[in-house]
Symmetry: C2
Subunit: 302 residues, 2 copies
């Protein structure tokens, strides 16, 4: 089966205690579609500017990511983000952000071949872009939106409308607190988010893992994979979301076992992603390595 | 089999967003020995002053806690702690602490019948008290020490000596950071702690669960039980430690499966404890309820 991901492609300039990279490949769509491709046919919708580097497309195609929906727009620039991580590798500071071609009013062009895809991940993007994509699809079966503080702050009304059109919402604990005003319990924040429309909410807890809560009150919990080798956390949440949805698109059924298996794999994929800058480590990951780490992780869990 | 717990019995005055209690039953030894008693024969060593309330002993005896080692000293007062919890129920402020009869130089009197007990939990107590207990035991098989910031700050040298005499150390993530100076990763802090002597370290992550790390590099991870009903977190760490050691004393073998089972049960017991002030909820818990919640929890885990 297939997963369709809407998300940014970007140039990232990164600083962490482990080094620095200039204009390396990044963006929510890049990390998510790459992560999903380990599990299912993965198609990306995004736009780049005319400064885009074909070798970056090559990295995605080498993993089998379908880039028919990657539009290169003339006379525009690719999104750019630069940020710096602190010693704990969780806190970061954005130094510069230029949405450029994928700014808040970006309307995706949807290839005909994508319109029947049933599993859809709206990555960290403007809610307007997400709704425009949904309008163009024939019969999405499962739509999950990721979001971030930037859109909660600047486009709250559109985001709330989007939430009435998705099956699931995935976000960080700090974003859940920000969106609901409930600071003291991410479980209670998730309950409130479920009143906004989605059937389930997935709250990412950074170094502590994630949980999935449904409207019916079911909860699934996964701790983070205990890795000591965190080089660059950029895209951890995006690759988590991409792998999660990739697994679900392939299993096509939200049984508890499938959900838990997807959470386990998503955690493992995110842990592999953060062991190198950009796709430096991630590009060499094979499915067998994921399976092997998933097995080791499973053995660590109570 | 048996677990011997050294830890305080105390009067606690508590404030949380859910209410206030005056001079209610508390203390690390109370919570830990009570929690252990669900799984094994549980014996407590502690001292109270002549203001001790016999009905508090009754609460422990009703659960089968062996109080032969509870000494009532004349002309002294029982330990007293008062504290206040903030809205997130994780951060708390100590308003008053009087060690009284169980101050830093407290030397426990060990009943003859306790000297052959092989499983030992040194609860949140002065390291000097812990070493005095170890000196009095014939052949302890597994000794685990809990600690807290107070003793790290005031008795660091004694604590370091104690660490060379224990098999395991159990502590909060913030205490692990404080004791090692490693702030940015509780996994790395645990690795450093293993250099201080113990064969394994258990780091408690509050609302995010705990992990167990061995000198050989094995790791077991458990998230917290997702409870929305946190009334009073006092004793969560102590009841976690007591249940953990109680399970291990009963299974008598540190196989991965036994360790993981013990972590699961310890998490569940701690989650039941914090649903009421003091032992108000805990005293009515039956083993069947623990088993039932453990089963539900297991079904939530990836």
């Amino acid at each position: 089966m297939s997963l369709l991901t809407l998300g940014s492609v970007a140039f990232d300039t990164l600083e962490s205690p482990f080094g620095r990279r200039e204009r390396t490949l990044g963006g929510s769509g890049v990390y998510a579609s790459f992560a999903a491709s380990f599990f299912t046919h993965s198609a990306l919708i995004a736009a780049a500017g005319d400064d885009w580097l074909p070798e970056y497309s090559g990295l995605l195609r080498a993993r089998g990511v379908d880039l028919e929906g990657l539009e290169i727009r003339a006379n525009t620039k690719t999104s750019f983000w630069s940020g710096r991580y602190f010693a704990n590798m969780n806190d970061r500071e954005t130094l510069q952000y230029d949405g450029n071609v994928m700014s808040g009013d970006y309307i995706p062009i949807v290839p005909e071949s994508y319109r029947d895809i049933e599993y859809v991940l709206l990555g960290n993007m403007s809610p307007l872009s997400g709704m425009a994509l949904l309008d163009a699809l024939h019969s999405p079966k499962l739509v999950v939106a990721d979001t971030m503080d930037f859109y909660i702050r600047t486009m709250r009304d559109s985001l709330m409308t989007l939430l009435t059109r998705v099956d699931g919402l995935i976000l960080n604990d700090s974003e859940a607190a920000f969106l609901t005003g409930i600071e003291h319990s991410d479980l209670r924040a998730a309950q409130r988010l479920l009143e906004f429309g989605p059937q389930f909410v997935v709250v990412k807890r950074g170094e502590y893992g994630a949980f999935w809560m449904t409207k019916e009150g079911e909860i699934y919990v996964v701790p983070a994979y205990p890795t000591l080798n965190v080089v660059d956390p950029t895209g951890a949440g995006d690759s988590f979301a991409g792998a999660l949805l990739g697994c679900l698109a392939e299993s096509r059924d939200l049984t508890p076992d499938n959900i838990k298996q997807a959470l386990l794999y998503a955690t493992v994929v995110a842990s592999l992603n953060i062991e190198g800058f950009s796709l430096e480590r991630f590009q060499f990951v094979k499915r067998a390595e994921i399976d092997e780490r998933a097995k080791r992780f499973k053995a660590m869990l109570a």
